[in-house]
Amino acid sequence: MPPMKNDIETGLTYWRSLDELARTPEFQEAVQREFPGDDWDRLPSATRRQFLKVMGASLAMAGLTACRWPKEEIVPFAHRPEGRTPGVPEHFATSMELGGVALGMLVTSFDGRPIKAEGNRLHPDSLGALTAIAQADILQLYDPDRSRRLLLRESGQQYVKTWSDFEAVAVEDFAGDGTGVAVLAGASSSPTRAMVRDQFLEAHPEAGWYEYEPISRDNEREGTRLVFGTPLRVQPKVDTVGVIACFDADPLFDHPSSLRLAREFAAARHPETGTGARLYVTESSYSLTGVRADHRMAVPSSRVPVVLARVANLLVAEHHLDLPAAAAGYAGAAGQEISEQEIDFAKLLAADLAGHRGSGVILVGPRQEPAVHALAAVLNQVLESTLDYTADPDPDRPSHIEAIGELAAEMASGSVETLLVLGGNPVYDAPADLQFGELLARVPLSIHLSLYDDETSQRCTWHLPRAHGLEAWGDGTAWDGTLTMRQPLIAPLYDGRSVIEVLSLASGLNSISGYELVRENLRKSASSIDFEGFWRRALHDGTVESTAWDTVQTRLNPGRLAVAVDGLRALLVSDPPSADRPEVVLIADSRVWDGRFANNGWLQELPDSLTKVTWDNALLVSPVTARELGIADGEIAVVEAGGTNVEVPTFVLPGQARSSMTLALGYGRTAAGRIGNGVGADAYQLRTTKAPHMVSGATVRGSGRSYSLATTQDHFAIDTAGFKERNRRVGELVREASIDAYMANPEVFHEHEHHPPLISLWKDQEYEGEQWGMAIDLNTCIGCNACVVACQAENNIPVVGREQVLNQREMQWIRIDRYFKTEPGLGSDEIDNAEVVFQPMTCVHCENAPCEQVCPVAATQHTTDGLNAMVYNRCVGTRYCSNNCPLKVRRFNFFNYHKELADTSKMQFNPEVTVRARGVMEKCTFCVQRIEAVRIGARNDNRPIADGEIVPACAQTCPTQAITFGNLNDSKSSVSRLREEKRSYATLAELNIRPRAHYLGRLSNRAAGAGPDGHGAPHGEADSHGKETA
């Protein structure tokens, strides 16, 4: 194989090698050959120098002390911007829109380069936290694969064009009244876009306007329309809730307000101050909410309505809940055969709901039919559940599936001559039965505005580069309607333009910039006379105060309810899936979402919370069903439905419902970019307008071919001995107890600690001054991976690619350990139910760190403020420290993982953190760069460091604030107080390593009389195994 060149234009061979070889493990050697050795550690200097120069920054440090006088320029600004101190980071409030909801962000900018996105405290959906996807979006900004120019594709030819060329075209094509013109846009909450849309439709009254999102909450919207006559937005509140009943719903992760909901849930689960929030979950596949459930029942998604209906029946029959006349029909609605387990679960839940009138809530997931949402709405109404409704911003909008359907029909009829596609990627993600790609060919002039020259662009006549969210002006609204601003942090790197700019261009208003459009729109909502002040305030805060929509008083709409009841009855009669006719549930991927993030290395390498799979999607199958079908774990399964085949590797997931399989959308991209191309299987091929979420009556068979999924845990099929031992250790590592047991006996988390006295051969080290420590609350951790991406972004952690992950060389400093707790005595293929627990694991900075004493060159030592410092530039790479680390949290640079990175990607690096060279060890530093920054600042103005002033990236972004950092020597600091709690324990304390990071035990809140834990090993059983440990 020839040595690859680093060529920015043709793209980085590092990535190419990844996606080319991603499918062919046997080429591992070849991959390794493509990481040429670093030139004696100077690469980091070299690269940093390059891009700092590019950015005209004021300082560039480089060179080795060893070599004599390396020539090194300093390039100061010719005119330094007002109030800018080069080298000092600045923060800007902006936002990101996903699926038509804006999420507020606070972006750190370093010498003009946005390098990290954090949550905006003032934003109702963020509260300072940020999802993994939103954080990773910044990598998209610097993606070298983004399209850099306009393309015109005509008769097989491809021409590079300029914006002025396009403007010329636009002027004539959008001249008329809009007959034959259609616009396909993604969902957007942007008032400015709404304004520009109206301007456009004014200018072209005949033009058609369609909005399509592959992933949406339209079913919920339609459900409320059924019940209340008009679509409403559901605004759950769970901070003071006693009971949460989730039916296929994942409020803690898969919801526009998931960050807020997770925060509220954590508050409600607090053992002392919380209201309990007993969580019931009925779902087909593990969701993060399901992981946290106190009572979880795995049933196929198509059975969920049956359970809900039964709950309704019981509420009426046994708990004398009187449904309004119009909804009386629900009382009789019941599924055909229903299992004992389902009945017991329904009984328990019904009783609890009845007992928590006014403090309970029923939530239904976006994949369930409107009728199911309708029933939930009715019950919530009658139970006075803790949720509000707000008006839908665009009530007349048809559902996305309908919209794309109508457009397809128009295109089929040939009446569309000009199609303007604003963002989105319909050729890839439109329902398969529409054949959108073929239809597009019939449209004479099709224009696609997009970040990438993707599947859709390649079938359109025009491709227009789109400006990234951090490059363009804009706005949006939070889930609750709060007005959210978006400002650019950097001029468009690739000459892209935003949706509103192109749309206003198409409206004939040529030269209007996004900046002017947003200001023009804001003027309307600007109450105060002083607009500039208002504008500056809005940009500073990122949100505009008290612009959330008012909640609406709801009244049931009898006329429509009848329809809803019939709809539900129709759902109940469908016969349940079986192993030979299983259902396949299509879900939004937790990382690449609907596929738009497929080219994002951070997200591709982010382990899925449950499966820990990276660089792939997999067909999730329950162990029992897998056995029944004779499909092995990792075997490539052939999913056949509606005449189409999809081949996808199987992942046998305990806790998956029998006869129900789950497959994530967003993979199998063909024109995503060098990272995303050909990764995983394309599930959209199974998706139809009729059944966009649940493919029933599919057939699944094994292909006999096996495929190794790059997982960051359980890297290989586990043997019986290992399986047993793993089950045995879980209880000791991740301690859990019911809240009642804890209240009765606070020592419950420690009573299984049996080990000899932890005495040292020497007298203990004295620690004065600030002593940094951490507390991680397993009771509130929901395993959402936000911390993992935050750490990756903050600490310049490389993406290593599938082959390296397969080789167990992933580099993330913090990982979320996932354990299954299963009934004892079961083989790994007999598990039907398994409880899942998460444990964020990173360097715990042991006081008696095993890694330190074994390092021959003292490259890792203990600092006076209690950190276990890792000194990259001293490390010679013996890897002894990693071997001797009982938690295995150290990461080694087996190659120079930054070597082939594009200069643009390097612009994301955090200059406060050394870019590690090949051959050195690295690990969590408690974000020492943040500690130092605060310390120097505090020392400069002679004040002590305040508690909570230093926040590591992981803690900062945690939606549930499960991670607390602070000074252990200060008894009043919050971390000290948490360490005082009885729930606090240290993992592997028996090794006398004295971790600086402690864990707070996990609490379950099971209903009284529920009997022993229905799923997973009883806690006592799991815990009791600690006792021999010494």
Binding site: S45, R68, V871
Partner: protein
């Protein structure tokens, strides 16, 4: 008859015996020489000190600071507030040179930069490795004078590196800062000399301002 025999058998010549001391001395001396070369020849003191690159603009600190008495902070604005002392933007130069020496040929690069907006590419003199995070404000605010690390800049026509800037050299000061501490007012006064013994003064200042320079790795390496 021994003579003729001794000719046709192999023997070592007599001088090999004489050679013995020479060989011994050579061996020992070689080792010593190597040690000296490594110890001094490779040290930053020898390799780095005295670096005096030619700058695009023949800016004279001796003139501006030494004779005109400009304060360091007039140009190096970051030194008290940020990690970087900062090289001034061209506009700072122009503040005076709009009028002063407005047509000096030496200043052409500055004029160009000012008009075009393209930076003047100064050559870095005091250069630390990438993995070293030095913070000017942290030192200046504690009363470490510029002169401690940069030498008598105010006497330099062309700036050159005066100190090794090696890790060992940094540590010397972090271990006993007394030798370099001065009252805040004199930090930027390069020719200042204490009336009393520096060590006494330093010890007192250290006491007053509670200065305990950290020696942890992560003080400079992150």
């Amino acid at each position: 008859m021994n003579e003729d025999k001794s000719n046709d058998i192999f023997i070592f010549p007599k001088w090999t015996g004489v050679l013995r001391p020479a060989v011994a001395v050579g061996a020992l001396g070689g080792v010593l020489y190597a040690a000296i070369v490594v110890a001094f020849g490779f040290s930053p003191q020898a390799t780095d000190v005295g670096y005096e690159p030619v700058q695009p603009v023949p800016y004279s600190h001796a003139l501006h600071v030494g004779q005109l008495g400009m304060d360091c902070r007039y140009c190096h604005t970051g030194v008290e507030v940020a990690a970087n002392a900062l090289i001034p933007p061209s506009q700072t130069c122009m503040n005076c040179h709009k009028t002063v020496r407005a047509n000096s040929e030496k200043l052409i690069p500055v004029f160009e930069s000012y008009s075009t907006g393209m930076p003047v590419e100064w050559i870095r003199v005091h250069d630390l490795p990438d993995y070293v995070y030095f913070n000017h404000s942290a030192h200046v605010r504690r009363g470490v004078g510029c002169v401690s690390c940069h030498g008598r800049i105010d006497t330099m026509e062309v700036v050159s590196q005066q100190k090794p800037l090696s890790m060992g050299w940094c540590l010397d000061c972090h271990r006993n800062p007394e030798e370099h501490l001065r009252p805040a007012d004199y930090v930027f006064q390069l020719d200042w000399v204490p009336e009393e013994d520096q060590l006494v003064l330093g010890a007192r200042l250290r006491e007053i301002n509670d200065i305990n320079p950290p020696q942890d790795c992560n003080t400079c390496h992150r």
